[in-house]
């Protein structure tokens, strides 16, 4: 069913899977680019039914990030074959930034965004007229450029939502008396501009703030008015108060919007299920339940050929999406969109494609030492390229650090990658030998070293009376009666997850970080506020702006990084989440992954592909 064609408004989509609008940073300045074209084309080629481009700002007052597109889709038009290609149109309003325009943000009312704290200018009738005209002009442009239609953004990050919501619209004029007025004006203008082309609406139907925010009950009465104006509805959730709600990370279960979006079924509107849907089985079930389409955005960033695998009856071959959000593009550094385990995503014009089917096995044999992500991917890609591959892993299971990560709270999805790699190696005929410690004598012929990492020595003084463990070795190292101090000088997900795990075992725990917040790098995944709140609720004391100086005698001595004040924390065990170091025990052959430099899955996969020549 998922792979079947479906009518969307006046058009036919080749499958029921939608690739939703998201920040990519693939633009040339604010223009859609050949990189966008290749990115969307790869998903269309893989069977995606509807591709919605990155949201374009309909008015010059809006530039939420440096490469936020402006209307103009010629660069991507015609790239997606039978798939429907739609323009997403939006205005971020008070959730934007004045950093690029140098002008006050536009807002429905004078309510600053929680994150940026920028107080917007309250738009008056001339600005509202310009906004409506901007939506209509952009929609007309999209159709003129050859797209199949548009999707309007009234979702989590949008001025249209800000007008709809009691959280952000306290106006006393007509737009306050009827908070749906602006949306209806925009929809009418857009429909008039595009004729029978597709018009979709991405609508926030639950701001998770029932005291004043949007609720599905409020929005259900709007649906009859939408019927003539829109061809499909994507109900989403979240507001400025719940930053991670729309595309949350792996702490939120896949398909979390199913019940919410389901309330809009059966009202004469085609409804799209959105919200961390990554499993084709769940998507099929949603279609059976009545959803017209299923948005699978991150799943298709992880594997552009998702629909093709479903159609071929090989869903087990789909590269799993971790939902870790570690490669989001909405980041001031302007990273290109990509995926944890598929680094070619977003780099379609830079990285060569891998063959879909293995080439005849004619190449020289390859020995891969180590069965973590680098070794697994090297074995997989070398086998795809036609080389006979043998992989040695000294543990009795594959996965390396991935298994350690997957054992931490909420990070189980990392384990899916290990299973996928294991299945792929088996399918490709890679000879995997577990429980084999490679010695120098084994290193004959073409060898890749993927032997991983070892803990670094503690950067603090260690005396008697306190145990010290690395994060990777901490599982089972503590029990009742322990007082644990987690030392986290890095601020990624590791320290936070380790502290959560300790607290979940009922063991008192403090997390010591040099930063202003715990897990400072989680701002990139969207989990920062949630992670700190989880630690609070779990009773983990966050010792901020501090580093561990010495441990011993049942105490950890921590020092403030700015004013040097010393504090002592009770400690029987310190879990050191500091960086790891490459395992250099084997030498003389190319290194990939952590044994080159300890990094993440993404870099391990990159190293592996480069090493086998793709």
């Amino acid at each position: 069913m998922l792979g079947e064609a479906v009518r969307v408004g006046s058009r036919i989509a080749p499958s029921r899977v939608l690739f939703g609008p998201h920040v990519t940073n693939l633009g040339r300045g604010r223009s859609f680019s050949e990189r966008h074209r290749a990115y969307y084309a790869a998903r269309a080629e893989g069977g995606c039914g509807v591709i919605v481009c990155e949201t374009a700002s309909v008015h010059p007052s809006d530039r939420p990030y440096e490469r936020a597109p402006e209307p103009g889709w010629a660069a991507v038009a015609g790239s997606c074959g039978p798939a429907l290609l739609l323009a997403s149109l939006g205005h971020s309003g008070s959730q934007g930034t004045s950093a690029f325009t140098g002008r006050a943000l536009w807002g429905a009312s004078r309510i600053p965004d929680v994150v940026s704290r920028e107080v917007p200018q309250v738009v008056e009738q001339p600005e509202i007229d310009a906004l409506v005209a901007g939506f209509a002009a952009a929609a007309a442009r999209a159709v003129a450029d050859g797209l199949d239609g548009v999707e309007l953004n009234a979702g989590q990050h949008s001025l249209l939502r800000q007008f709809l919501s009691g959280l952000t619209n306290t106006r006393t004029d007509a737009y306050g008396e009827d908070r749906t007025l602006l949306l209806r004006q925009v929809l009418a203008a857009v429909r008039a501009a595009v004729g029978d082309a597709v018009v979709g609406l991405r609508l926030c139907v639950d701001e998770l703030a029932p005291w004043a925010g949007l609720t599905p009950e409020q929005l259900l009465p709007l649906t009859p008015k939408l019927r003539d104006l829109v061809d499909y509805l994507v109900p989403v959730r979240g507001s400025g108060l719940s930053v991670s709600a729309t595309r949350p990370d792996l702490h939120t279960p896949p398909g979390f919007n199913r019940a919410l979006a389901g309330t809009f079924l059966g009202r004469g509107l085609d409804v799209v299920l959105q919200g961390s849907v990554v499993d084709p089985g769940m998507a099929e079930a949603a279609v059976a339940e009545g959803f017209a389409l299923v948005e699978m955005t991150r799943a298709q960033i992880a594997d552009p050929r998702l629909v093709a695998h479903v159609r071929a009856g090989t869903p087990e071959r789909i590269r799993p999406c971790t939902l870790a959000n570690q490669h989001r593009a909405r980041d001031p550094r302007n990273p290109l969109i990509t995926d944890e385990a598929e680094p070619r995503s977003g780099h379609e014009t830079l990285d060569p494609p891998l063959p879909h089917a293995p080439r005849p096995r004619t190449g020289p044999p390859l020995l891969v030492v180590g069965g973590g992500p680098a070794g697994l991917e090297a074995a997989r890609t070398a086998a795809l390229l036609g080389r006979p591959v043998r992989l040695l892993e000294r543990a009795d299971r594959l996965g390396g650090m991935l298994r350690v990560a997957a054992a931490l709270p909420a990070r189980g999805r990392f384990g899916l990658l290990v299973h996928w790699w294991a299945r792929e190696l088996e399918r490709l005929g890679v000879e995997v030998q577990l429980g084999v410690e490679a010695g120098p004598a084994d290193l004959v012929g073409d060898v890749l070293l993927a032997t991983g990492s070892v803990p670094s020595a503690p950067a603090f003084e260690v005396g008697a009376g306190v145990r010290v463990s690395s994060a990777a070795e901490a599982a089972g190292a503590y029990g009742p009666g322990d007082r644990v101090v987690v030392h986290d000088p890095i601020g990624d997900w590791t320290g936070v997850a380790v502290a959560e795990q300790v607290a979940a075992a009922g063991v008192p725990c403090a997390l010591v970080t040099p930063d202003a917040v715990a897990g400072t790098q989680l701002s990139r995944t969207g989990d920062l506020a949630d992670a700190n709140a989880r630690l609070e609720r779990a009773g983990v004391e966050r010792v901020l702006f501090a580093r561990v100086r010495a441990v011993g005698g049942g105490r950890a001595v921590v020092e403030d990084v700015h004013h040097g004040a010393i504090r002592e924390l009770p400690a029987t065990l310190v879990i050191d989440c500091a960086h790891r170091l490459p395992d250099l025990r084997l030498a003389g052959h190319p290194r990939i992954g952590d044994c080159l430099a300890p990094r993440t899955v993404h870099e391990a996969v990159r190293d592996a592909r480069r090493a086998v020549g793709c």
Binding site: S98, A104, R117, G491, L528, N532, R537, H579
Partner: protein
């Protein structure tokens, strides 16, 4: 003395003012841009020596997005345009060459960072791959290659960064490095071979664990000058580019010590905001040349002072945005030609805060007949903010704006505004939000209308100096002060302006308590606080509560005049924001008149 020529190597520089190297974020696709050219040319009117921002010598060094790719031959046209534009003012221009080593990110290069040893940088936190001998040979060649390209591009020489963020600095400083100066000496030799008689300089930084005088002596015979700095970009940037709380000239001791040890010219740096400060340093024999970076960003001809607010220069570059300046709205926008002026018009500016003053000064300078109406004191909230501890230099912004207005012929009036003028610019500001009758506002404290004592709760919803500076003021007066914020950090944006370290030190010394993640929901006889991650509610008593809340626009005049042609509103009466936004609004409205 600042305006006397100096000899550097075999070159003569027309004065002793140096526009020192700093990141701009102006590169486009890694190439020097027209924006660079206009920016440096504007400062070359004043500075006899311009040193550009760093150029990467090797493609594996790409720590931030907009870095100049010196290793790419495509930079040549940009080099030539830049050097010609500086030379047109009779000034010399050097390129700063650098490799950031492990003080870098793999995000853009998609390859591991490299460093002397596998020790991660405290900011970027990536474990580097240790450099091999072959890597070092390649690096020496890379420096020489870029130096040759700089010569082709018309540069008068190069400066090697051996400070702040560089592989050369890491070799001097990191534990576990055996040969600390070998690479530096090899690079100097290779670069000298390309430069011939052109200028070769090195920038050295004072930091713990580095004997900077010994290094200077080692370099003396190999370089034409030494520049200086203090601090490390990825661990103590607040020392490299300190804010208003640090006095001008704070780093001159480094230059003085090096000058006493070596015979080559030495450049002193360190938040010099006015030429007189440079004169003093030269007169005292502490340096041969004086570096001004922020000083010339704010006032390319020293026409206005940098006040060390760090909001739009350091603050923007730290966010991967092109550099700007809070007090000089043209900084970084030198390319945009001024609009042709319309006919001379009568302009009334209502309100003498930063927005109104800027609008009046620019409009008058463009030949309009400008009257600025202000019934209270000029400077608006800026004048008030300058009353807080360590924030006095904000008063210089007001001083300089008033001086610009007077020089341009603005009439000041404290009576009724002429609202029938052809152009009426409303800059009527904002007033404190009175959310709770029992609370006062930070502005009430600063203007003396309230003087809290005993225990004081300061409610921070603005995330900047408003709450923290008033908390310091009250703590110094003996109050027991607590700052509470719904955010995750008190004074969140102090991190961007490099004010956080200093604030936390002072707050610790003053006993100021910081409480985060907490909403104040009611202020009456007692205060209700809700810790939002847990929902925990507490009722506490304080002797006083002071709000740092988003203010409300004073827009009554706009309500009357809305829709009339020739009426504009700018600054806080449009949307309450910070000084930079007010000044930018004022400039924008005036340049279009």
């Amino acid at each position: 003395m600042l305006n006397t020529p100096a000899t550097i190597g075999r070159s003569t520089v027309r004065n002793r003012i140096v526009f020192t190297a700093h990141l701009t974020g102006f590169a486009e696709d890694g190439l020097p841009s027209a924006r660079h050219v206009a920016y440096y040319a504007e400062r070359a009117r004043t500075a006899g020596l311009v040193i550009t921002e760093e150029h990467a010598v090797h493609p594996d060094d790409h720590p931030y997005e907009h870095m100049i790719r010196g290793h790419d031959p495509a930079v040549l046209p940009g080099y030539r345009a830049l050097t010609e534009a500086v030379h047109a003012h009779g000034s010399l221009v050097l390129a700063q060459l650098n490799h950031n080593g492990p003080q870098a990110s793999s995000l853009y290069s998609r390859a591991p960072v490299r460093g002397p040893v596998a020790l991660p940088d405290p900011l970027f936190r990536e474990v580097p791959v240790a450099l091999t001998e072959a890597d070092l040979d390649e690096l020496v060649a890379a420096y020489a290659d870029v130096a040759r390209r700089c010569v082709d591009g018309g540069f008068d020489g190069v400066e090697l960064q051996c400070s702040q963020a560089s592989l050369l600095r890491c070799l001097l400083a990191l534990p576990g490095v055996a040969d600390r100066t070998g690479l530096l000496l090899r690079v100097l030799e290779a670069v000298r071979a390309e430069l011939g008689d052109r200028i070769l300089g090195v920038r050295l930084g004072h930091e713990d664990g580095v004997d900077v005088l010994a290094v200077a002596r080692l370099l003396e015979s190999r370089v034409d000058y030494l520049s200086t700095t203090v601090g490390v970009a990825t661990s103590s940037l607040y020392l490299v580019e300190p804010s208003m709380h640090t006095p001008p000239g704070y780093a001159a001791d480094v230059a003085a010590a090096i000058r006493a040890a070596v015979g080559v010219p030495v450049v002193a740096v360190g938040r010099f905001t006015a030429p007189e400060q440079g004169e003093t340093v030269l007169r005292e024999g502490r340096a041969d040349l004086v570096g001004f970076a922020r000083g010339l960003i704010a006032g390319p001809r020293f026409e206005r002072a940098c006040v060390g607010c760090n909001q739009e220069c350091v603050g923007r570059v730290g966010l991967n945005l092109p550099l700007g300046c809070a007090v000089n709205p043209r900084a970084g926008h030198e390319l945009q030609p001024p609009q042709a002026r319309t006919a001379r018009r009568r302009v009334t500016v209502v309100g003498g805060g930063p927005a109104g003053l800027r609008a009046a000064a620019t409009a008058a300078a463009r030949g309009h007949a400008v009257t600025l109406v202000e019934r209270e004191r000029l400077g608006g909230q800026l004048a008030l903010a300058a009353e807080a501890p360590g924030r006095a230099e904000l008063g210089h912004v007001v001083r300089d704006l008033i001086a610009e207005c007077r020089a341009a012929g603005v009439s000041f009036l404290d009576g009724e505004p002429d609202l029938d003028a052809e152009v009426v610019v409303l800059a009527t500001g904002a007033r404190p939000t009175r959310r709770w009758a029992a609370a006062s506002d930070v502005r009430d404290v600063l203007d003396g209308s309230v003087s809290p004592s005993g225990s004081v709760l300061v409610v921070d919803e603005l995330g900047f100096h408003h709450a923290t500076s008033v908390a310091e003021l009250l703590a110094r007066r003996g109050c027991a002060v607590e700052i509470v914020t719904p955010g995750m950090v008190v004074g969140q944006d102090l991190g961007l302006t490099l004010d956080r370290e200093g604030f936390r030190r002072r707050a610790h010394a003053l006993g100021i308590r910081c409480t985060t993640d907490t909403l104040v929901t009611d202020v009456g006889d007692a205060v209700t606080l809700v810790h939002h991650p847990t929902g925990r509610t507490e009722v506490r008593r304080y002797d006083a509560v002071v709000g740092a809340l988003p203010p409300e626009p004073a827009d009554e005049l706009w309500e009357t005049l809305r829709g009339r042609p020739g009426v504009y509103r700018i600054g806080d009466c449009l949307a309450p924001r910070r000084m930079d936004a007010a000044i930018r609004d004022g400039e924008r409205v005036a340049v279009n008149l």
